[in-house]
Symmetry: C2
Subunit: 483 residues, 2 copies
Amino acid sequence: MSARPFLASILSLACLAALPAFAATDNTPLPADALATAAKLRDAGMAGDATDGSSAYDIVESLTTEIGERLAGTPPAERAVEWAKAKFKAFGYDKVYTEPVTFEMWTRGHEDANVVSPYPQHLAITALGHSVGTNGPLEADIVEFANLDALKAAKPGTLDGKIAYISNRMQRSKDGSGYGPAVMARVDGPSIAGKLGAKALLIRSIGTDHERMPHTGILEYTADAPKIPAAALSNSDADLLSNMLRRGAPVRVKLELGGEMHGMVTSYNVIGEITGRTRPDEVVTIGGHLDSWDLGTGAIDDGAGVAITMGAGALLHRLHLRPDRTVRVIAYMDEEAGSFGGKAYAEAHLAQLKRHQLGAESDFGAARIYALHAGVKDSAWPVIEQIGQVLAPLGIVTERNATDADAGPDTGEFAAKGMAWAQLAQDGTDYFDWHHTANDTLDKIDPKALDQQAAAYAVLAYLAAEAKDSMGSGEMPLPKPEQ
Amino acid sequence: MSARPFLASILSLACLAALPAFAATDNTPLPADALATAAKLRDAGMAGDATDGSSAYDIVESLTTEIGERLAGTPPAERAVEWAKAKFKAFGYDKVYTEPVTFEMWTRGHEDANVVSPYPQHLAITALGHSVGTNGPLEADIVEFANLDALKAAKPGTLDGKIAYISNRMQRSKDGSGYGPAVMARVDGPSIAGKLGAKALLIRSIGTDHERMPHTGILEYTADAPKIPAAALSNSDADLLSNMLRRGAPVRVKLELGGEMHGMVTSYNVIGEITGRTRPDEVVTIGGHLDSWDLGTGAIDDGAGVAITMGAGALLHRLHLRPDRTVRVIAYMDEEAGSFGGKAYAEAHLAQLKRHQLGAESDFGAARIYALHAGVKDSAWPVIEQIGQVLAPLGIVTERNATDADAGPDTGEFAAKGMAWAQLAQDGTDYFDWHHTANDTLDKIDPKALDQQAAAYAVLAYLAAEAKDSMGSGEMPLPKPEQ
């Protein structure tokens, strides 16, 4: 996931607020045989004994080993598109196709930073996504701000010719709620600092680790500000820089960033379908994003999400299960720079909004799922409760009014237009230790945790596709647009 | 610490084996008032309330912030020499001086590695210390060996024109005993692979982490082998490379290493003394090493050791304690390339061997001390037991026949010539997660753990310096030389 996880949180709260409180009911909208089949599906997924390479772990091992990093628009991302098509076909998906996604391409280039004085030292940094380059070395004194608000409060001119440095630290939490407050330093900081006259911006990495691994991630330049180069220091280096500054003498840094935009390019969402038995034109979508940042091998962000959902569909095929509606697995392209795959999908399929039974997305790492959340119409909530009962043995609780419910960055784009959605919330306690760093590699993934997730997605997709009635796409009040 | 921790283990075993079993005794070779004073010293150290920058944490914060990495022979290492002299003086050491240490200087230069085919990907690597460079890109197929023995067993010629790759993984343990078996791949691997015709050697990092951080460390070329470039892959990249190789197709890697030797240079051990009250010519030495590898800021290896022992001496001064013998704190230079500081000290002071009451060294990270070990003559063991009683409230147990006892890499050089020694054994469970990587930074250090260690070294140094009789330097049978 990239910049704005809290957007979808706002959406979900708006949805939930619009619904009347849930009332206990006796109707069982999912028949007993569908529930029994789902339980078998769940147990088969947990067994994790696929021998055809379709277990979620085998899929992410293949993606990270054979492709590795896959920054949208670059050759490895295009190889990943071919890889995804081949995998869908190999795993028995009966329809495999692509849909175009157009976005601006960026590459990183050489990057380096050093304290010049008073304590010459190397600093581990990485450019923020879409950052302009420095055009050779850029040298300036550092001015530290405790957080983005402190930067906003700086008097115009105080940053003339300086490098601004925002040193706030992200807080760890299971639901990732520390990300939203911290990440705006990365997203909005560059233009705010640019307007104040800064030559460049450094930020403490938006991450919860204390490894010497800078965290990249997208920035958003505004039209009214000069574009200044921006980079993240690893948390270790942020400590170091703050400790130097605490001594009082001016700290001068030499920064080199080679970031470059390459204009608009077109890549693809890759889609595989298990076609529905009786209502093939109605779909349940699950998916993750195929692109990754360029520093690690994109194992947890979001190779895992692609693998979990692709593996879930493969499991249906392996057990010869074909639900009433179509299960559509989407490997989105260029989530990282702003959910472009999700936006493209929502735009291309807007006319079929009501035929989207439910959308869900896995984009929060590789740790186990602990909760089921949903944004569905009131009358569909009993279906969610029944799905939750099948998921309960996996340690998943069904929460109706969770304040941290989130449709996900790509699925959230269509949810914002009225699609019913569900969330299988993962434990994100460690996610931001590795997120957007070179450390996002396969060794952070527990195969058994992936089995649990693929099993849960298979159950969710199967039962949502079997439910008799609509879950509310196109019938619910639309959430307010983001503030 | 660097290459051969097990050398000193072998020494200590030899020492201990030469001693008769300990017999309980009623004599109390340390008087009650010395023990009471030592208890006060311990409690003052644990309070960690120095306001003059002499707490161990403040010292290592200063060294890592104001100097940072300090590869022996390079300008920052020379700045560290000046830093150490200034600190000793500031903390009230009454004699501060340097002694020359001569060694061959090496620098790293540019380094990069990429899989060329069949799965183009970047690999995170770092050159081993003293590795020759590749003189531009070197491209070859990889041949994997499960461990050093498998490489040794390779038939001559099988590696002609290839890059050898040793993939064995170091095991985690509290006492660091996993290091010895694993590290020989790094130390001896390059010459063994060179003799077999390999163009270069890659090894899995000698480390227990799963971070994308390659571990450097010294190699030892033998005179009878061609010098081939050698580098370590991070553990994450070692997994990646092994996973690629497991697929069966040839894996081709392009390697660039810029390592360079610069001939002999002279730097310095930096020494500070709290001069003894009644026997100033007799000394207890404690210390750590001032140099570090060039990737991190040398916080745990071995800024912590310098800080702990420098802080211990400072604590004596701060409490106006001057024991009978001199307490000599040594910040050794160029431990990393082969304990050159320790060798220089042993050589320069050989004539004063018997006047060295005891030597001890902190070079195993920054985690708490859990045991007291010693290599002293039998009749001195009751002194060690009494010291152990003062240390017991710090969670330190006195172990007479510990198989993992170790005089340390620098102190071990003089211990090998007959100096009595003690070891305050630290918990090394996490040490090899960060050892010799860019991740060796201040944020890995718990200030309270450093207080415990400085308190323990202060107690050990004070009481050893107060003991009436010799602990056996020059009187014990010499250990057998290393095999």
